[in-house]
Amino acid sequence: MKKILLASAAMITMAGTAQADITLGVSLGFTGPLESLAPPMAAGAEMAMAEVTASGKLLGGMSVSAVRGDSTCIDAAAAVAVAERLITSDGVSGIMGAMCSGATTAMLTNVAVPNGMVMISPSATSPALSTVEDNGLFFRTAPSDAAQGVVMSNVILERGINTVAVTYTNNDYGLGLANSFQAAFIAAGGTVTLVAAHEDERADYSAEVGALAAAGGDALVVAGYVDSGGSGIIRAALDTGAFDTFVFPDGMVGQALVDNFGTEIDGSFGQFPGTDSNGADIYHQMATAAGFDGTSAFSKESYDAAALIMLAMQAAGSTNPADYAQHVMDVANAPGEPILPGELGRALELLAAGQDIDYVGASAVELIGPGESGGAYREIEIRGGKIETVRFR
């Protein structure tokens, strides 16, 4: 914690003295319930900026530096304050952030849109952000939870299961995912017997599982967190024999899941954002060389978000958000030369020569609809106490 504070303090002073040509805001929840994810995300974004600066090819050799800002995760007032500081006092040309859906919405509607600032969030997944009034200034390299709901619904139905109960962690993430899944599942002809919330950080989930068991179903969808209530629900369901098969969305797929339950959940399945492109492998190697964990959630998406801002600037030939905002979709999608992590210099060269690029990046970026990642998912199944990949969809 102290280190982060010192680092961000150092960043602020550096930004004032280093005379960088372009500054970009890195606004993440450095404090709050997801604070452990923030450092590898910031490191990813800053790695992209360092790569571009080292290449010396952005708009005729401009350097890029980062200014960190703590948008927190749940404090909208703090998020708005930091966005105002980044734009008015630090004079950033674009913002990579924010982290959580609530903070992102607050920053976007209160500060970024009125000031005409581009924001690319690497990790805000709330479906509400797809329809928010953004004047074409907001993008995200993470898929909306609405997409995951549809994918999860397909995964379940293709296994011949058409009656499920759903429990979700009682917050924006859980509720959004549960709602989008329920809508997709019912539309596809499935039956949802009960959708019930659970609170994290409780010792005992037998009452919640009792209600879910009474509702019945062939499988239980657990839209929760593996480090918290989600595992508690599964433990109670296994102990009382309420459910044998579980469906795990992204918050549940992790090493802790098989550490906790091993072969007890064999046959259960799920999905989380993931690709089979080799961009991810290249990124992991780059991150390891740079001294941070590239496999940490949303680190890849952060690198891609920062890269997209800079590539769009090159395509527009301007650092003005109003000019480059409309180029974000062009550089992210086909047609053009595919660009993997570590090839930002080449991408800038191609753009300078007037050629098209298709930024693939670390997370196989493909922006759809209102400027959000279409989302590639990795379907997994628990076999013999291990998480095994079934396929990509």
């Binding site: 599982v209 009474a214 009382t240 024999g241």
Partner: protein, 336 residues
């Protein structure tokens, strides 16, 4: 067959979990009620005393496990329990020396004690978090099930399964032993009788030559044993996390007050009453009714009185009702 199925569902989801939870609450409420009866204040630090005792037991259990000592099918934590009780007793007596004795000499009002215990609560809370951290800790080992759901289904051929965890069975057995021992001590031994005398009328007890410091010391000793046992059983049965022990304070106090503060029998009754209402009121009785009703009459609704979100509210509703109509609690305790 259907009636059997209905009974099994009810046992599996309501009666067995509520009995285990009730036993844990009862042990906690006994500690609160003893302190109230003899030291005459509501000890807000009780939940964190439980957390402290459990933490010592967990650390000890890990040590034993590392040394290869286990109890076979029983959890190793039972072996570590005496160490936990001893260290918790030391902590409580130290707290009494450092904090409560001062106020006793001042003949302070009960509300002063309560606020002091609030401070003690925060300090203990901090100690526990500092030593073991804020995360979930697992320390259960041995055989997990007395009878697992799958085995029960295979044995009986019933549609519904019944699972009894070892920790649930141990909870009930240990709680019974602790309660019997406590009542024997209070009613049959000289020290126990002197404690009851002190509780009934402090001045008379002092006149008849009872040493108040000794009574206080023994009370803390018993409270340490009860709190550590309750905390360890709760942790074995559910999970250990400092924050949930702090939350436990609410149902424990509700149990003690509903039963009648200062009345040990009331504390036990209150514990089970709170546990059964929490689980029963929030349970969805759909399956039970479906089995009992005629063929094809399975109700469409959940038959659930309250959503599980309101679990904690149940104990307070009962508390309010009891205090409105019977301010001394079910078993005639002291008025607050």
């Amino acid at each position: 067959m259907d009636i059997l199925n209905a009974i099994v569902v009810l046992l599996n989801f309501v009666i067995i979990p509520a009995t285990a939870y009730g036993a844990q609450l009862a042990l906690g409420a006994l500690g609160v009620t003893l302190i109230y009866g003899i030291l005459r204040f509501s000890n807000f630090a009780h939940g964190d005393t439980m957390a402290f005792g459990t933490m010592i037991v967990i650390l000890c259990t890990w040590g034993l496990q590392a040394a290869g000592v286990t109890l076979g099918p029983l959890p190793t934590a039972l072996l570590a329990l005496p160490v936990g009780i001893a260290l918790t007793a030391l902590l409580l007596m130290g707290t009494d020396r450092a904090v409560y004795r001062f106020y006793r000499r001042q003949k302070a009002k009960p509300v002063v004690y309560v606020i002091a215990s609030l401070g003690v609560m925060f300090i203990m809370n901090g100690i526990v978090r500092f030593i073991i951290g804020v995360d979930d800790q697992r320390f259960d080992d041995g055989e997990r099930f007395l009878i697992s759901v799958r085995r029960f289904r295979d044995l009986t051929g019933l549609e519904e399964g019944l699972g009894i965890r070892t920790s649930q069975a141990i909870t009930v057995v240990v709680a019974l032993i602790a309660m019997v021992a406590l009542f024997w001590f209070l009613n049959r031994t000289r020290t126990g009788k002197s404690m009851r005398a002190f509780s009934d009328n402090e001045d008379l007890a002092l006149l008849s030559g009872i040493n108040p410091e000794r009574v206080v010391m023994i009370t803390w000793l018993i409270v340490a044993a009860l709190a550590t046992t309750a905390g360890t059983l709760y942790g074995l049965d559910k999970a250990f996390k400092p924050f949930t022990y702090f939350q436990l304070l609410l149902p424990i106090f509700a149990a003690a007050i509903v039963g009648g503060l200062g009345n040990p029998v009331g504390a036990i009754l209150g514990g089970f009453l709170i546990a059964f209402s929490e689980v029963g009121v929030t349970y969805a009785f759909r399956k039970v009714v479906g089995y009992l009703g005629p063929e094809g009459w399975e109700p469409a609704g959940m038959m659930q009185l309250l959503s599980t979100d309101y679990k904690f509210a149940v104990s307070f509703t009962i508390l309010l009702i009891v205090l409105l109509f019977r301010p001394t609690g079910i078993m005639k305790g002291k008025t607050i």
